[in-house]
Symmetry: C2
Subunit: 379 residues, 2 copies
């Protein structure tokens, strides 16, 4: 059904396309790949001005930052160690069969490769499980930002009936019965007392250590001028200019950490999801979802908050057309909740070659897969 609606909206967008004007951000024909390489081989402050709307406070694309977690601090290391055990322990779920890693698997770039995860008794979630890579950069968690910290966030999936379905009242009691956990809690918190708060804190601390590795783009920024292919370099330039991606996907993590309506609310249908509005109840927040970062994005499909798009080609085509827009029905004329797409999102008229170049650039944001040794759980 999602697909049918997307298809209809997409068709309508196509009809609108004839009224679109192309913008001025073509790669001018005198800008050869050699001159492009020369320009982008300079420090980023000398790069061409990005095509970003006036109101956008953008940060330039940049190399990986360090996590705020002090990995050299022994007492923090012990909290991380405990958090890692808890993350992989299915006994945090009501059935003892589902761990955090079930939907955030290191092998699948800390996601699960599904449109929506299947949780307790195979019940579906309503949104796509986001990758946990670089989760420390966000100021708020979940697609709708309803948790203000990773500690607050941790409670959600553990207790949700369609995720881990663990009664929170008995969570700490349950872990208390696993003798092997006591030394870990003592090491991390100074006493063997197991509380939900300590569990959530350990999980949050561990999750802040989940970060992307070095990508070709980072190598390029560090001075390896050949770390990007010609096609990837063209993609970088398009990403920053004609394609307008930088309006939302900027900075070291390719996210403004903000919320936007990109036209996927499915307003008025049984799949309706109003995102941030569900949490703030402000009409201007209808349909807004968090801007995901793009490091390792090629490994974290299917994409969008419903996981509705399985190929990056299709995703590019959707953005290229300006994304589907809700068509206001007569009875919705005065409805304050009718979703309006963010003005930053609009048709960009890239040709196939240009879209492929952007995808090639996104490939350059990939880092080698993580290898996590099997965790020996306490008994």
């Amino acid at each position: 059904m999602n697909k049918v609606l997307l298809a209809i909206a997409f068709f309508l967008s196509c009809l609108l396309l004839i009224s679109f004007k192309s913008n001025d951000w073509e790669i001018s024909s005198d800008l050869t790949i050699d001159s492009l390489r020369k320009v982008y081989s300079q420090p980023s402050k000398f790069w061409p001005k990005p095509n970003v709307d006036k109101e956008v406070k953008f940060e330039e694309l940049a190399g990986l930052q360090s996590t705020p977690i002090d990995l050299a601090n022994d007492s923090i290391k012990r909290v991380i160690e405990l958090g890692k055990l808890l993350f992989f322990d299915a006994r945090l779920s009501g059935s003892n069969q589902i761990s955090c890693a079930t939907c955030h698997s290191p092998e699948l770039s800390w996601a699960d490769g599904k449109a929506v995860s299947l949780g307790h008794e195979q019940l579906p979630n309503i949104r796509n499980a986001p990758s946990l890579e670089n989760v420390w950069v966000y100021n708020s968690l979940f697609w709708d930002g309803r948790a203000k910290s990773l500690v607050e966030q941790a409670e959600g999936p553990i207790s949700a009936h369609n995720e881990m379905n663990q009664d929170l009242k008995s969570l700490a009691k349950k872990l208390n019965k696993i003798k092997g956990y006591k030394p870990y809690f003592t090491a991390a918190f100074g006493s063997s007392k197991i509380t939900n708060q300590r569990i959530f804190e350990s999980l949050a601390t561990f999750q802040q250590t989940i970060v992307s590795g070095e990508s070709s783009f980072d190598k390029f920024l560090k001075g390896d001028k050949n770390a990007l292919t010609d096609q990837q370099l063209t993609g970088l330039h398009l990403f920053r200019t004609k394609a307008r991606c930088m309006n939302c996907h900027h900075g070291a993590y390719f996210t403004d950490k903000d919320f936007h309506n990109i036209g996927l609310t499915e307003y008025g249908t049984k799949n309706e999801d109003l995102g941030l509005y569900n949490f703030t109840k402000k009409p201007e927040d209808v349909g807004k979802f968090k801007t995901p970062g793009l490091r390792n994005v090629m490994q974290t499909g299917p994409w969008f908050h419903q996981g509705s798009v399985k190929s990056m080609d299709s995703l590019m085509v959707l953005y290229n057309m300006g994304m589907p827009e809700h068509v206001v029905l007569p009875h919705q004329k005065d409805d304050p909740l009718v979703p309006k797409n963010d003005k930053l999102v609009r048709g960009i008229m890239l040709n196939v070659r240009e879209r492929k170049a952007i995808i090639a650039f996104l490939e350059a944001l990939s880092s080698p897969p993580v290898m996590i040794k099997a965790v020996q759980l306490p008994q």
Copy 2:
């Protein structure tokens, strides 16, 4: 540890490389892409002779065949319908949390994207969960071929302690208590009696309907001469000639359905897996594993029976070097079980451009992802 051994074996193979001679299957410089397209646009009987060893009974690459299941037959349709429900029903597992689809998810090309699946209580399997796409073509099931039919195979994962962990003695009894299943069994088998045999038969019948969709390669075979790019066409030619892939990966499904030792036994280590030998106990079968088909192979990583290789580039490099070989230690001199690589596998000296062309060709074996509607399970 797997990785370390692979790395050592790989390094040894590198040392051996200097003694390798290149073969005669270079794309001769006068064979332009245009002439290649001309040659391959003819019916396959006019294609260049493949580089296949004398003893290999190869079948030419070909378009999709139809499954042996009569999809128009109403009584078979009812068995398929029941089998599909059972496939997605986690109540076939001891914990009621794990279904066949947990490790063979349609969204992940009927596999799970992991090196090895995690089953009951998150226990790891020893081998990679293979995709179920086109599973009907095989004469035997499992990586080591120990099941002679899909019906026989179905019992394995359901009962295994580290997979679905369902006591087979109580399986039929358990489903008998779900009233909603009775009409489905009656429709499929003429009586509402639920038996393990009927469960396995339905699962097997449903699995025979899991097939690849049309790929670019199929379109090319049907006469769309531009369905393969120049690079993919070069890859097709290399696949059939210089790269020797056709020695094992041939026919419509790119598999000889046979078993080969490609050097991944990890003999003498704690990860040792002797494959077909475990089942037949014949020394000549040591280290042999089934040749997987290659349709949608780009979607079914990580690859090899341990799921040890996460990038197709790395996989190509391994084959290019002739795969790792077990180095016979002094005390193993007279050991009849010392694994010997299949003679069909040997270094092929492809350059980067050639390896990329083959990967591009493998991309041309991809078909659009399946969309499976959420199944409403009987209650």
